[in-house]
C-alpha cells in the first residue's frame, strides 16, 4: 500500500519554484535552554503554495523551531524571520502570529473537550454586541460555518468536541487555525497534528491541505510518519541535533532509507559495542508481566542476570512510561513484577510504593534531572545518599562515614568533577549532574535498574562514563532496562531492544544491533500500524 493517491490529490502538477520569494524564511535561529542548545543556527525556507515537511528524531529541535515560529519560545538573539520578503521582528508574540499570517495546529490541537465545536472555533474571536456587550451567537455561527464550507467539511457545530472522532477533531483544530487566513497567503504550521488520524481519514485530510495550498497558502507539516511525509510533501527539511541536516530537499529526490540516513547522520558502525557472553542461559533477575497503565497497553519482559534491555519508539507511544510504571512512580492499572523470590502487584498502590520496590532492589533513574532527580541547591553528598537514609545509621544520627565512603566511591567510579562531596549540585555541569543522579541509585547496589534517557544532553566524556558505569552494574549481575530515544546508545549497550508502538511491543531486535536498524524499526512501524485501523 502506498500513499500515491494522496499525492496526486495534494501535490500540484507544476513543481513549486524554489527560487520564488519565500513565504516564510527563518534563518540563523538558535535556542538555548540553560545549558542545552536545542537549536543551532537553523534555517527554514518555505515557498508560496508548497507543502513543506519538517522531520527529525525526537529531540532534534523540530518542536523547538515550531514553538519559536508560533511565539511560545523566544529564540536566541541573532535570528531572522521574513514573511513574503518583509522582515518580522523576533521574538514573535503568540497574540501577533495571526497578524503575520502564521497559523498553528499543535499536536494536542488545543481544543476544550466539553465545549461545542462552535465555541472551540470562535473562542478568542468572539465579538460582542454594540450596546448589550452580549455575544451574538448567530453571527459567530455563520462565521464558523463559512470556515467549514471553505474547507469542504461538514461538522455539527453544536456537538461537544469530546464526542467527535479523531479526524473530526483534527478538522476542527485546522478550521480554527485557518479561519483568519486570506486565500493565497499565510503559512499553516501542523505540529504532529495528524498523529491521531487513521489512514482513511488522512486522505481526506490531505485533500483538505491540497485545497489550502492550491489557493497559494503554504503548509509546514511536522510528522513522524516518514512515508506520509515523502508522499504528500513537496520539499523536506531535516533537522538533526538542533541543526539543519538537509534544507528544502525536493521529496522526489528522497526515499525512506535516505531520509532516515539524513535524520541519523552518518555515524560510525557500533564497533565499540562490547562482545559479551550470551546471557540467554542465565536466570531471570526480574520478570514483568501484564503491565498496563499510562500509555502502555501491555508490556511483558523477562530480564536475565546482567542483561541490558532497551525500549524505544515514537514519542507518546508508551515506551517512555515503562520505567515509571515498573518503578512505582506512576500508578499501574495492572501488572506484576517478580524479583528474586518476591512477586509484587504493581497495581497495588501500597505494595508497589517506591519505598517498597526500592527495598526489593528496584530503582528508577528518572529523566528530568532537575524536577525529579536531584535537588540542585543541596550538596552532592546530600543528594546521593538520600535513598539509603533508612538502611544505615540510626534514626538519631545519619552517620557520616558510610555517606562519605559511598560518595567517594561513586565520584571515583563515575569520574564526577569536582571531586568534592560537599559541592552543591547546581555548581556541577549537566554531565556531572547526570552522573550524580546515576550514582545516587547505583550506590545502593540494586538488582534491577530502570532508566529513562540516561544520557540526554550530556557531553561525550560523561556519556562514556555513564555507559561504563552501566556496564559495570551489568557485569555485577544487575538487570537493566533503558527507555530512550537515543538509538546510538541503545545500539551500543543493549543486549536487545524492544520497539514499542501504541503501548505494545511490536518488534524485538537482538544480536548485533546497529542504530539504523533500530531507527528503521521505530519509524517503519508507523504506516503499517496506521493501516490496521
Amino acid at each position: 500500500m502506498s500513499f500515491s493517491r494522496l499525492r496526486e490529490q495534494s501535490k500540484r502538477d507544476v513543481p513549486v519554484p524554489a527560487n520564488a520569494t519565500p513565504r516564510l524564511h527563518a534563518s540563523g535561529i538558535g535556542k538555548t535552554f540553560s545549558a542545552t542548545r536545542a537549536l543551532i543556527d537553523s534555517e527554514l525556507k518555505v515557498v508560496p503554495g508548497e507543502l513543506h515537511g519538517l522531520v527529525g528524531q525526537n529531540g532534534s529541535g523540530k518542536s523547538t523551531l515550531m514553538k519559536i515560529l508560533s511565539g511560545y519560545h523566544a529564540p536566541d538573539p541573532g535570528g531572522r524571520l521574513e514573511m513574503d520578503g518583509s522582515e518580522i521582528r523576533l521574538p514573535l508574540r503568540v497574540t501577533d502570529i495571526g497578524r503575520h499570517g502564521i497559523a498553528v495546529v499543535h499536536q494536542s490541537l488545543g481544543l476544550i473537550p466539553q465545549f461545542s465545536v462552535l465555541e472551540n472555533i470562535r473562542i478568542g474571536r468572539l465579538g460582542a454586541g454594540r450596546f448589550t456587550r452580549r455575544i451574538r451567537w448567530s453571527r459567530e455561527r455563520e462565521q464558523a460555518r463559512a470556515v467549514f464550507e471553505r474547507l469542504g467539511q461538514s461538522v455539527n457545530l453544536d456537538q461537544p468536541v469530546r464526542e467527535l472522532s479523531a479526524e473530526a477533531r483534527a478538522t476542527v483544530g485546522i478550521a480554527r487555525a485557518l479561519q483568519d487566513y486570506e486565500p493565497g497567503r499565510g503559512v499553516l504550521l501542523l505540529d504532529e497534528a495528524t498523529r491521531a488520524l487513521t489512514r482513511r481519514s488522512l486522505r481526506h485530510f490531505y485533500e483538505l491541505l491540497g485545497g489550502v495550498t492550491a489557493e497559494g497558502a503554504s503548509v509546514v507539516l511536522v510528522s513522524h510518519r516518514l512515508e506520509e511525509v515523502l508522499e504528500v510533501c513537496d520539499r523536506i527539511t531535516v533537522l538533526r541535533d538542533g541543526q539543519v541536516a538537509a534544507g528544502g530537499v525536493p521529496a522526489s529526490e528522497l526515499d525512506e532509507p535516505s531520509l532516515v540516513r539524513l535524520m541519523l547522520g552518518y555515524t560510525q558502525p557500533a564497533h565499540v559495542r562490547r562482545t559479551r557472553a550470551p546471557t540467554s542461559g542465565g536466570d531471570c533477575v526480574a520478570e514483568v508481566e501484564g503491565l498496563r497503565g499510562a500509555a502502555v497497553e501491555e508490556f511483558n519482559v523477562a530480564i536475565k542476570r546482567g542483561e541490558i534491555v532497551g525500549v524505544t519508539g515514537l514519542a507518546g507511544g508508551g515506551f517512555e512510561d515503562i520505567p515509571y510504571l515498573i518503578g512505582g512512580a506512576t500508578p499501574a492499572q495492572s501488572g506484576t513484577i517478580k524479583i528474586g523470590a518476591r512477586s509484587i502487584d504493581l497495581s497495588d498502590r501500597r505494595r508497589s510504593s517506591i519505598e517498597h520496590l526500592m527495598s526489593a532492589g528496584i530503582v528508577l533513574v528518572p529523566e528530568k534531572r532537575e524536577e525529579e532527580g536531584l535537588v540542585l541547591e543541596l550538596s552532592v553528598l546530600d543528594n546521593m545518599t538520600l535513598p539509603r537514609m533508612g538502611e544505615h545509621g540510626s534514626p538519631w544520627y545519619t552517620g557520616r562515614g558510610w555517606q562519605q565512603a559511598e560518595v567517594e566511591e561513586m565520584i571515583r567510579r563515575l569520574g564526577i568533577k569536582p571531586e568534592r562531596p560537599g559541592a552543591l549540585v547546581s555548581t556541577l555541569s549537566g554531565g556531572n549532574q547526570q552522573k550524580v543522579l546515576l550514582g545516587k541509585w547505583l550506590a545502593g547496589s540494586p538488582q534491577f535498574v530502570l532508566l529513562h534517557e540516561p544520557t540526554q544532553a550530556v557531553d561525550v566524556a560523561a556519556r562514556r562514563d555513564i555507559i561504563e558505569a552501566l556496564r559495570h552494574e551489568s557485569d555485577r549481575g544487575c538487570g537493566i532496562l533503558i527507555s530512550a530515544t537515543d538509538v546510538g546508545d541503545l545500539a551500543l549497550i543493549c543486549d536487545r531492544v524492544l520497539i514499542v508502538r501504541d503501548g505494545r511491543v511490536t518488534q524485538e531486535l537482538t544480536g548485533e544491533l546497529d542504530q539504523d536498524q533500530i531507527v528503521e524499526a521505530t519509524f517503519q512501524a508507523a504506516p503499517a500500524g496506521a493501516a490496521h485501523t
Binding site: 545549558a35 529531540g59 538542533g242 560510525q268 524536577e371 532527580g373 537515543d486
Partner: protein, 362 residues
C-alpha cells in the same frame, strides 16, 4: 567540544566507513550532540562570599549595638537592656519553631500559628481559673489541642490537597473565634505564681524559658542536619517529586510537620500564659508577622537560602535589639510594625535573590 563532532556532519557513507582514531568517542556519542556548556569551578571568592553573607546579620547586629550605645550611652549599653532583649522573646521563639516545621517541608504560609498559640495560652487560664482544673492536666490538654489544630490543618492541606493559605487563614480565624468565645472576649488571668516559675525562674540572669528556646532550637538544628528525618524534611521542602521518587513518604512527613508545628505553638502558648499569669486572646495576632519576619530573615544567616533554626534564633534577637534601641531613642510603638514588616519584605527579597544566584551562578 570535541573535534569528532565537526567531523561527523558533512561526510558521505563511504568516508565514514574508514575507521579513524577517536572513533570510540564518535560512536559513544552517536545520535545526539554534546550540547552542554558549563564548568563546575568553585573558587575561594565564593567561599569568602559565603562567609560574608552567612554572618552578615551578625555584623549588622554588632554595628547596631555600637550605634545605639554611642547614641544612648546612658540607657542602652547596660546589662538590663540585654536582659530585656533576651528574656522577652520566648513566645516568639516557640512560634517560629512551629513555623519552621512547616516551612522546612515546603508549606510556606501557615497563617494559623498565632491563633494556635493563642488557643493554648487561653485554654490554660480558662481551665485552671474558671473551671478549676489541675494546672498540669490543663497544660497537657492545651498543648494537645494545639497539636490537634495542626493535625486538622495538615489533614486538609496534605491529604485533601486544599491550598495551605486558604486553610490556615480560615482555621486561624476560626480558632481565634473559639478562643474569644472561651475567654468571653477578654483577658483571663489568675494563674498561680508557682506556675509562673516554669517560665520566669532565673538562671544566670535570664529566665529559664530562654534556655528552653535555646535547647529546642539547637535540637531542631541537630534533627535537620544530622538525622535521616531532617534530611528527608529538607528534600521534601526543596522538591517534593525528587523526594517521592527517592522513596520518601512525602505526605507523612508533611502531615507530621503540621502536627509538630501545632505542638510548638502550643508550648509557646503555655509559656506565654505562665509568664503573664493569664492571657488576652486579642493579643495573639500580634505574634504572626514577627514570626514570619524572623524566619525569613533567618534564611539569610548561617546557611544562606535555607530555612534554619539557628539563623532564625539570631534574627529574633537582632530584631528585638533594633526595636528596643529605637524605643529607647524615643520612637513610639509604631516602630515595631515598621521594623518587622520592613524586615519581612527585605528578608524575603534578599533570600529570593540569594537563592536565584545560588542556582544560576557558576
Amino acid at each position: 567540544m570535541t573535534t569528532s563532532f565537526e567531523e561527523r556532519d558533512p561526510r558521505t557513507p563511504a568516508e565514514t566507513a574508514v575507521a579513524e582514531p577517536g572513533a570510540e568517542d564518535v560512536a559513544l556519542n552517536a545520535g545526539s550532540a554534546d550540547r552542554t556548556a558549563r564548568s563546575g569551578e568553585h573558587s575561594w571568592r565564593h567561599v569568602a562570599h559565603d562567609l560574608g553573607t552567612r554572618s552578615a546579620i551578625v555584623w549588622i547586629w554588632i554595628a547596631l549595638i555600637i550605634a545605639y550605645s554611642l547614641l544612648e550611652p546612658s540607657s542602652f549599653f547596660r546589662v538590663g537592656t540585654f536582659q530585656t532583649i533576651f528574656s522577652s522573646q520566648q513566645a516568639l521563639v516557640f512560634l517560629t519553631l512551629g513555623l519552621l516545621c512547616t516551612m522546612c517541608v515546603g508549606e510556606y504560609v501557615d497563617l494559623s500559628i498565632a491563633s494556635v498559640l493563642g488557643l493554648s495560652a487561653t485554654m490554660i487560664p480558662v481551665l485552671v481559673v474558671n473551671d478549676h482544673w489541675n494546672v498540669a492536666i490543663a497544660s497537657v490538654v492545651a498543648v494537645a489541642a494545639a497539636g490537634l489544630a495542626g493535625a486538622f490543618n495538615g489533614y486538609l492541606v496534605v491529604y485533601l490537597g486544599v491550598d495551605v493559605i486558604i486553610v490556615t487563614l480560615g482555621s486561624g480565624t476560626f480558632i481565634l473565634g473559639l478562643t474569644l468565645w472561651m475567654s468571653h472576649l477578654g483577658e483571663v488571668v489568675g494563674l498561680s505564681s508557682s506556675f509562673a516559675s516554669i517560665d520566669l525562674k532565673s538562671i544566670l540572669g535570664l529566665p529559664i524559658s530562654f534556655y528552653y528556646g535555646l535547647v529546642l532550637i539547637l535540637l531542631f538544628a541537630y534533627v535537620l542536619e544530622c538525622t535521616p528525618l531532617g534530611r528527608r524534611m529538607r528534600f521534601v521542602g526543596a522538591n517534593r517529586e525528587v523526594a517521592r521518587l527517592s522513596g520518601i513518604r512525602v505526605k507523612r512527613i508533611r502531615f507530621g510537620a503540621f502536627v509538630m508545628g501545632g505542638v510548638f505553638c502550643g508550648l509557646g502558648g503555655l509559656l506565654a500564659s505562665a509568664g503573664i499569669g493569664g492571657f488576652d486572646p486579642n493579643s495573639s495576632q500580634t505574634y504572626l508577622l514577627p514570626a514570619f519576619a524572623t524566619v525569613s530573615l533567618g534564611t539569610a544567616v548561617i546557611q544562606p537560602g535555607r530555612f534554619n533554626p539557628i539563623g532564625t534564633f539570631v534574627a529574633i534577637y537582632f530584631l528585638a535589639t533594633g526595636i528596643l534601641g529605637l524605643e529607647l531613642l524615643g520612637a513610639a510603638g509604631w516602630v515595631s510594625d515598621v521594623f518587622y514588616g520592613g524586615s519581612l519584605v527585605v528578608a524575603v527579597t534578599v533570600a529570593t535573590v540569594l537563592r536565584r544566584r545560588l542556582l544560576l551562578s557558576h
